[in-house]
Symmetry: C2
Subunit: 451 residues, 2 copies
């Protein structure tokens, strides 16, 4: 019976804490020895600085590189500081070149020199070629361990060649067929290799339609293509179709996870993933930009209200009703933007559909404004026995929801036209517009018709 390595082991953090309390570092080492680097990373992240350093010292040096890769940058940086150059070089040597490239930004020049010195010539050239591309491109994602074959040999020869290698690079589901100038002419899937007759030639069984990535393709596009076409690996080529390397699905899965995480952090206005045990000062620094931006928009909204203080003094009910108008505007505006950003991401917004969509969003906001604004108007009347106040409430809600719909459509489209990410920051901007706009519309109408 095979031993089962369960995908989830929620109590290892507890076990490690217990062993630390007992001062039994040998036991810590024993626990860690059985764990996957990803699990060790989770434990380290869950520990305060001091025990974290103790546990880190118990990690097998062969696994340190992989563990570092699994950690968010804030924690990774702290652990790297605990290691000397020789240890770092040893940890790096156990990694693939594309993974070493991911660690490089954290390392000092001395350590980098030490690592380069420790690598053999071929690996050094590989690392060099990966490092020459930005981290968020196909070139930055690729590994340089692709197996290539020529199209005129038989499968028998390919099989013998593979057997002589004794090991295949991880996630090798296809071999790349190249011509004598290293240009990609096709791919030979391992499945074909296993199921075809051995006397056939590569050219007879290879696939000539190859999904390949120019080396500067943004990583988001690579991820989208892997998802659409269910890829396991794909070649990376230069402008002349020369094979430079290959991207594997595990790296793409990491890109997807990082994208989702980045999105979550952006939404809350956090600069980077925080180390749970970071100091108060580090935490404040990570969060202050967003607080400052929101403070500025809040002060603007506050000054809009300030301009109508005379009206509020005369009819104080305005003060308690105005936040409703502003708040609901922000909510519905963000609903609109979410749908627009989605359509943009899927490349579905043509000129025609854009106009249709805009018209629809305005109509939706009109319906919402009349229905919800109508209800609020009735509520205002019931509370303050003032019919005109109710009418102003309904009118203001309707107008602000229409403003919200317009902003919700136009802000992401404008950002896109300016070459920016349509999603980032849209939410702050919409809320700013619907807050200030909502206060202005409601208090303005009230000033005109009520006081």
């Amino acid at each position: 019976m095979g031993k089962t390595r369960k995908p989830k082991k929620p109590d290892h953090l507890k076990q490690v804490l217990a062993a630390l309390e007992a001062g039994d570092t040998a036991q810590v080492r024993g626990i860690l020895a059985d764990l996957h680097p990803a699990d060790i990373a989770r434990i380290l992240e869950g520990l305060p600085p001091e025990p974290r350093a103790t546990v880190w010292a118990q990690v097998d040096i062969q696994h340190m590189g992989e563990v570092l890769l699994e950690l968010p940058e804030a924690v990774r940086g702290d652990l790297v500081k605990l290691m000397d150059g020789a240890a770092l070089a040893a940890a790096a040597r156990a990694l693939d070149t594309d993974d070493i490239a991911d660690l490089i930004p954290e390392l000092s020049d001395d350590v980098i020199a030490e690592i380069l010195f420790a690598l053999d010539k071929q690996d050094r050239q590989r690392l060099d070629s990966v490092l020459s591309y930005a981290e968020d491109t196909a070139g930055g994602l690729m590994n340089v361990d692709a197996i290539t074959v020529r199209e005129n040999i038989t499968l028998e020869v390919v099989l013998r060649y593979l057997r002589r290698r004794e090991e295949l690079p991880e996630h090798t589901n296809q071999l790349f067929v190249v011509d004598r100038d290293d240009r990609v002419v096709g791919i030979l899937s391992v499945a074909k290799l296993l199921t075809s007759d051995a006397w056939m030639r590569v050219s007879q069984v290879m696939e000539r339609e190859v999904i390949k990535f120019p080396v500067l393709t943004p990583d988001k596009e690579v991820a989208a293509a892997f998802e659409r076409y269910n890829l396991i690996s794909a070649p990376v080529v230069d402008e002349n179709n020369h094979l430079l390397g290959r991207i594997t699905v595990d790296d793409v899965v990491d890109v997807m996870r990082e994208q989702a995480e980045r999105e979550r952090l952006d939404r809350a206005g956090l600069r980077e993933a925080e180390d749970m045990f970071a100091s108060v000062w580090q935490t404040v620094r990570n969060r202050w930009t967003w607080v400052a931006i929101n403070l500025v928009t809040a002060i603007i909204a506050s000054r809009v209200i300030g301009a109508f203080e005379d009206s509020i003094e005369k009819l104080v009910a305005l003060a308690s009703l105005m936040p409703i108008v502003a708040g609901i505007g922000g909510n519905t505006g963000n609903q609109t933007t979410t749908m627009i950003v989605r359509a943009l991401a899927l490349g579905q917004l043509s000129e025609t559909s854009m106009r249709a969509l805009f018209a629809k969003e305005i109509r939706v906001s009109l319906v919402n404004g009349l229905v919800w604004g109508g209800l609020l108007g009735i509520m205002a009347y019931v509370l303050y026995h003032n019919i005109s106040l109710g009418v102003v409430m309904t009118a203001a809600m309707t107008l602000n929801l229409m403003l919200a719909a317009s902003a919700g459509v136009l802000i992401p489209l404008t950002r896109l036209k300016l070459g920016r990410d349509p999603a980032r920051g849209s939410s702050v901007l919409i809320t700013a517009i619907t807050d200030s706009g909502g206060f202005f519309i409601f208090l303005g109408l009230a000033t005109l018709f009520l006081v």
Copy 2:
């Protein structure tokens, strides 16, 4: 030279629109014939209902099933309505059983019967077994096309067996080694198979440590494990370790994308992904719950203000300053929650760290409150020449940010204790608390000390 199938073709929607305008359906058919089902889905989604139906009629029936799978449910439902039972059955037959299972919820009983009738006995049993598990479990994700081998045979025999099959299931990177009761005892990676000597026995080269999923494992956990352990495929087993099927990384990538999409929709309070060309009425229905919830919380906040109308009448500056206190509270509370939810998702919150974290968040909010609140206090003094008003402003900001930090920590933890998703709905709740709380604290302090 191999033909290049580029990963991104942004102009196909335009080409299709042009062909439609010219009334040339043959050309539409020609464009679609070269495209991947995922790309056809993107085009269909980008078209209004009428041309969408026209284009749908030009899709090859062999691809219809895969195209349907790539569409969001709203659009999929509309297209299914355009097809008769025979066409649906034909489209389904071209799919894997796990993919047919994903389509079933959209189909009428008649069509399901027709599909079942069209399948052979083995496929019918497979479909049955996949359908008996919830869609969001390992069982719902799995396919039943795993290749199994016994441990006492030689690799030579395995190779001959594979060659006789002529085709391997997609993403076959490993074969499952089972005993005579179909219990999983190990895995034989294709890489090992290709690089080991053919006279060796499976038992000599197989991996005995198998990452496998009990059939009821939630799909989120499956996705996390695939990401952590860089898996391409993994076996699904019942409680007695019998092999039921296998999960492949392409399905996991879909789960990850759906999770990210679900999160985005939840955040904006959208029930499901909208068809861009849905009617106003359908759109309003998709969005109304969220608007209603926010309306209720806004009305509560409004009533808190209403209770202090006397104070506002006496000191109207309160009306323009109060939204700042409330707003910044919501922003910082959501920052705190984002970090807590992240730590919870990674399983890093022990009892000790929870207390430390809570203490840190309170300290961060204290610093923020004094710094930003101090600035606002000065602003209030400059605007209204009232020192006490400035002091109240600073105090209210500090207290509301501390309330925000507490809510930001406690709400996700409480939701988790109640067995709910800690992320969902937290944002609405925190904003509700910091809005009403902010108004109450600021207006309450003002009433006590200023008027």
